[in-house]
């Protein structure tokens, strides 16, 4: 097989809604989904602190038992027939997005270590020539201290990856803002 050069990315632009959100994809759960119901919400901001009204947030996560619906996850933790683990939400004019999902279980980091519960997050927008790759952790999760990924993030920047636990009307909400640039800039990764 010949080695192939990667196709370069290009911005999603401002007109992606028909192509990527022909229907809403921000509710990942049904009545049958197992696990603790949570709502993720927040705003996407630019370097001036202005809301980004044309961003798209994508998430990928394990189910409540810590199993990914994917052939590469061959562990024995059960799959949930009522949960895929993928969600997508566009931002509105306030830069606001929300998703309804369940808190994921823990997944392995390597042969000996386990990761704290997290969502894998992508951010797309006009003005982003490639999508941004980040993670969402839960600020009330005590296993965060041992998470091998969080531990390599410089301590002052770690809070940008922690969604803040709140409750409203008996519902659990995790607030997760994304700051593309400047003060409080979210930690972004390369994969």
């Amino acid at each position: 097989m010949t080695r192939r050069d990667l196709t370069p990315p290009q911005t999603v632009g401002p007109f992606f809604h028909g192509g990527l959100l022909p229907e809403a994809m921000n509710v990942l759960v049904t009545g049958e989904t197992a696990g603790e119901r949570i709502r993720i919400e927040g705003c996407v901001y630019d370097g001036d602190g202005a809301p980004v009204s044309d961003a798209l947030v994508e998430i990928w996560q394990a189910n409540a038992a810590g199993r990914y619906r994917h052939p590469a996850d061959r562990r024995s933790a059960p799959l949930d027939p009522a949960f895929t683990g993928f969600g997508r939400a566009g931002t509105d004019e306030r830069g606001f997005y929300w998703l309804e999902t369940i808190k994921p279980g823990r997944v392995p980091f390597d042969a000996t270590r386990t990761q704290a519960p997290h969502l894998n997050v992508f951010v797309f927008a006009r003005g982003l020539l490639d999508h941004l790759r980040t993670r969402l952790y839960f600020d009330d999760e005590r296993t965060n201290t041992d998470d091998p990924v969080l531990r390599v993030v410089p301590q002052p920047r770690r809070p940008t990856l922690l969604a803040k636990h709140q409750t409203a009307g008996g519902r659990v909400i995790y607030r997760y803002d994304v700051v593309l640039q400047g003060d409080g800039e979210t930690v972004f990764f390369t994969l």
């Binding site: 990667l6 911005t11 028909g18 790759r133 390369t190 994969l191």
Partner: protein, 249 residues
Amino acid sequence: MDGPGRDPSTFPPYLYEAYRATTRRAPKQPLIPLPHTLSEITGPGPALSGALHQTVQGAASAEDSDLTTNMGTGTEAMGERIIVTGRVLDEGGTPLPNTLIEIWQANAAGRYRHRVDQHHAPLDPNFLGYGRCLTTKDGAYRLVTIRPGAYPWQNHPNAWRPAHIHFSLFGSSWVSRLVTQMYFPGDPLQPLDPIFNSVPAAARARLIAQYAHDVTQDGYALGFRFDIVLHGPNATPFEPYETAQRATR
């Protein structure tokens, strides 16, 4: 700022000042390399393709690969009919079967069906402007659409986007995710376009489809070929990760 994992000979920088919107949206802090754990080597691609495959078998129209008719009005979209085909591969050249491709584009007059598109070009009542398909077992896909028009934008005086089709792919893992744009050969607007130019010069040709006379269908449509190569998960050695990270700080 960019870091390892985004090869500077392929990837556009996040900050590219000629494309003005990048100046307030590009991150300024260094990106942190992430090892490919189970979170990165899995991804929604297989599950989404599986769901779409089931829908396709249930209703032939669900694989939405003909944009000349998918508005469902019974009348064809206006414009130069084209066939876009190609293969989706990984870096090793292995074809990726059953991979979801989502596309969207302007109509023949250069207008998107989108509420924020203010270009005073006509909407085509018979053109929706988006669709999707799955690759076959050989990694091949085929779309029928119309050639999109160029359109003006506000980036700089007399700025025009070259004709392009937006492509979104998941591939087999989270690291494979790609959103890009396909351009057409011989378009004089490409060297003037900062979005196209943001890609390193040697890699720009990978975004341009080739005219393919063997794909062109007599009496029906012009053919273009556009292959797409997705990043695959590494066999990353996990153990040195934290040590390596500390060493670089």
